[in-house]
């Protein structure tokens, strides 16, 4: 295999370069750095800050996994991927995991041979229109011009929605979200559609947010989550349970502030198992006992990551909604650590 690298790279543009054997964990540990695929820049989810350091909700998942596996939350090589390149990058082994607002769908999971390791954000597609149109429901949009970001599940949902309601529309496919917003503000389209979290975020940045309304219809389920390649279940388990550790930490009240104190041992056995003072969960994953402690310490528990990057106090200003813990009426739920 080694010898073929040069020729293979010539033949298939680096298809072979990182032929990832089954043991992604060994590769990552040998390399000392984890390659994590992220977006090319979505505020709140993944974007480099003024110092060039990647920040965001998806980035935090990468950092937590790196902290668990390598003991260093900064040992991550962020690989910006576009909607087009993300799956090839993961399948070819260029990246070890993908945390990029990617909707968990059947065909991506089964046909493209990926493994979604959980959901870190429950989203749904919605519509935004100028309030002056007087539209109150998406069913009234017959004949409207709709701006969509191309290459996403949104355009499929859009086609399905209009077809099932037996109304027509004129799609205006746009490469990036910011361009679509410009066209929408210029009146080149009547409707802008994307995930409701993004609609809310972008509306907040409009010059006059009150002139625009987000219609009540949610036309799709968009569970967004990190994914890895099929066939390396050990690595998949690590990513899955790192995400679950962040979620469980919030449920159990483990925060980045009190984690040192709690990791000394508490009278709650699940916290003890999570933080490694009891049981051998880390060993079962092929890691050490404190893997989850490091993952949580990297950026805080799920709630802290949410509030710090996209929560109500940030510019994005998203409410927890569906993404509240199950104990608070949301969908965020982790299987037990035992």
């Amino acid at each position: 295999m080694k010898k073929s690298v040069l020729f293979g790279a010539l033949a298939a543009a680096g298809m072979t370069a990182g032929v990832a054997g089954a043991a992604t964990l060994d590769d990552v540990q040998a390399r000392g750095v984890m390659n994590c695929g992220v977006t090319t820049g979505v505020p709140g989810f993944a974007e480099p800050d003024a110092n060039g350091v990647w920040q965001g909700f998806d980035v935090a998942v990468c950092r937590a996994v790196a902290a668990a596996v390598l003991g260093d939350s900064t040992a991550v090589e962020f690989v910006p991927t576009t909607g087009k390149t993300r799956f090839t990058a993961l399948a070819s082994g260029e990246i070890d995991m993908l945390a990029r607002n990617t909707t968990w769908t059947f065909s991506r999971d089964v046909d493209l041979k990926f493994e979604f390791t959980g959901v870190n954000y429950y989203d749904g597609q919605g519509f935004m229109v100028p309030a002056s149109l007087g539209v109150t429901s998406a069913a009234e949009l017959d004949g409207a011009t709709v701006c969509i970001q191309t290459g996403t599940t949104t355009e499929l949902n859009l086609a399905d929605f209009f077809r099932s309601n037996n109304i027509t529309y004129e799609p205006v496919p746009i490469e990036t979200g910011s361009e679509a917003v410009q066209l929408f503000l210029a009146g080149s389209c009547d409707v802008y559609t994307t995930d409701r979290s993004a609609l809310a975020a972008q509306r907040a940045n409009f010059p006059a947010p009150d002139d625009f309304v987000v219609l009540p219809e949610v036309v799709s389920k968009e569970p967004l989550g990190p994914l890895v390649r099929h066939g390396d279940n050990e690595w998949g388990d690590i990513v899955r349970w790192t995400l679950n550790a962040l979620i469980t930490a919030e449920e159990l009240g483990v925060t980045s502030d009190n984690i040192e104190e709690l990791s000394a041992g508490t009278n709650n056995p699940e916290i003890n198992r999570l933080l490694g003072s009891e049981g051998t969960l880390g060993e079962m994953l092929g890691l050490d006992a404190e893997w989850a402690k490091r993952a949580i310490a990297a950026g805080g528990n799920y709630g802290e990551v949410f509030e710090g990057n996209i929560g109500a106090a940030t510019n994005i200003g998203l409410a927890r909604g569906l993404n509240a813990q199950w104990t608070d009426g949301g969908l965020i739920y982790s299987p037990p650590f035992r």
Binding site: S4, G143, G151, P171, Q182, G187
Partner: protein
């Protein structure tokens, strides 16, 4: 006196493959060929082995599955339930539409600009220099975006046409310029319209036949027939007569504001117009330079000789200079046509659904079949480019200097 005899022809020995200069070059070429084939076969098998190792099997089954997405500009029947192959076909036709429009306009623009740049009129020639330098030195992607954004911000929204005292009105009550595109009236074919179109087609052929006849007459007898008004008459009169005889079979459908948008007529989308204009003016600047080079390549003596025969400057250009200049102009013109076709893949910047947008964009994304889609895309552009080259080479052979 000595006699020279040819050495006795010897039987072929294996060693001669190396020692004999007659065979040696073949031997080495054969060995090189074998090595080349082996290494290519190795690369391909390696590619497939590694694709399989990564779980990326090559499969074309996705082309037969429903695409699931909508396309705004549909030259052929297409719904979101059509297959990916159908979506690719729509994209391919859209690519050809914009490439054809841009090639024609770029040629017209380029020839005019190239000729005028050599004008003796200082202002005209400087204006054309400014056009050429401004447009060919800025990337075409920037021009596409500039035109698109300028139009989407400058033109009124369809809503502005509404009401008793609208902010915007339609040109001649027929053409609406909106920031979603230009709506122009379309033809509605009634009963007997086929006859009308056939007559029109026949008239066009008639015009060409008449001009050829006039040219032959000029060459044979030196008699100069007028071509301007008879051509116009041949073109218009029979069609006009037929139009009224058949009871006005072809009518115009005017665009009308209904609901959110104009309905009826032909909708030329902003993305098509922006891409078309940008490709035309950008490549037109290059063609202008080719034309100028072609004209300058013709010896000044030709112009002077024609002038000495008493020809007017316009005739000199059309009858003496340009036909000779074409020999120099055509070969680089072919590359410009290829450039237009390939540059049309920038369509995605303004959301024009060409084949890069459908097959190489949405289909690739929704199915994840990147390698297959890109291979098909390469094949498409290769075939189109080679076809354009082939057609233009045939034309080039017909105008090039005939050596006898």
């Amino acid at each position: 006196m000595s006699t020279m005899t040819d050495p006795q022809p010897q039987g072929f020995r294996l060693g001669m493959l190396i020692s004999d200069t007659r065979y040696r070059s073949y031997t080495f070429q054969f060995i090189a060929l074998i090595l080349l084939i082996v290494s290519i076969a190795y690369l391909i098998s390696n590619l497939f082995a590694n694709l399989a190792a990564n779980g990326l099997d090559i499969s074309w089954a996705f082309l037969g599955e429903p695409a699931g997405y909508d396309i705004n500009q549909r030259p052929i029947e297409y719904t979101s339930q059509s297959t990916h192959a159908r979506a690719s076909m729509v994209g391919a036709i859209n690519t050809l539409i914009v490439a054809f429009l841009a090639c024609v306009s770029a040629t017209v623009l380029g020839v005019i600009a190239g000729v005028l740049r050599l004008s003796n009129n200082w202002i005209v020639s400087k204006l054309m220099s400014a056009y050429v330098e401004a447009f060919r030195n800025v990337p075409v992607l920037i021009w596409i975006l500039i035109i698109f954004l300028a139009m989407s911000n400058a033109f009124p929204q369809p809503r502005a046409f509404r009401g008793e005292t609208p902010d915007a009105t339609m040109l001649f009550d027929a053409v609406a310029f909106t920031n979603r595109g230009v709506y122009v009236p379309s033809f509605v074919n009634g009963a007997g319209s086929a006859i009308f179109w056939l007559v029109l087609l026949a008239s066009i052929i008639g015009v060409f036949a008449y001009r050829r006849y006039a040219k032959n007459l000029l060459f044979k007898t030196g008699k100069l027939l007028p071509t301007g008004w008879p051509s116009l008459a041949i073109l218009i009169v029979p069609s006009l007569l037929m139009y009224f005889v058949l009871g006005q079979p072809v009518t115009l459908e005017y665009p009308e504001l209904k609901g959110f948008n104009f309905q009826g007529g032909v909708h030329m989308r902003l993305s098509l117009i922006a891409l078309w204009f940008a490709l035309a003016i950008y490549t037109g600047a290059f063609i202008a330079e080719n034309v100028r080079a072609g004209i300058l390549a013709i010896s000044k003596g030709q112009t002077e000789a024609a002038a000495a025969l008493g020809m007017r400057p316009g005739r000199i250009m059309n009858l003496v200079i340009l036909p000779q200049a074409l020999r120099v102009i055509i070969p680089p013109l072919i590359s410009q046509y290829l450039n237009i076709t390939k540059n049309s893949s920038l369509a995605i910047a303004v959301g024009y659904m060409d084949i890069t947008g459908t097959l190489g964009g949405i289909t690739l994304n929704q199915t994840g079949r990147a390698i297959e889609s890109i291979l098909l895309l390469m094949l498409f552009y290769l075939i189109i480019s080679l076809s354009i080259s082939a057609i233009m080479n045939v034309y080039n052979n017909s105008v090039k200097l005939k050596e006898r």
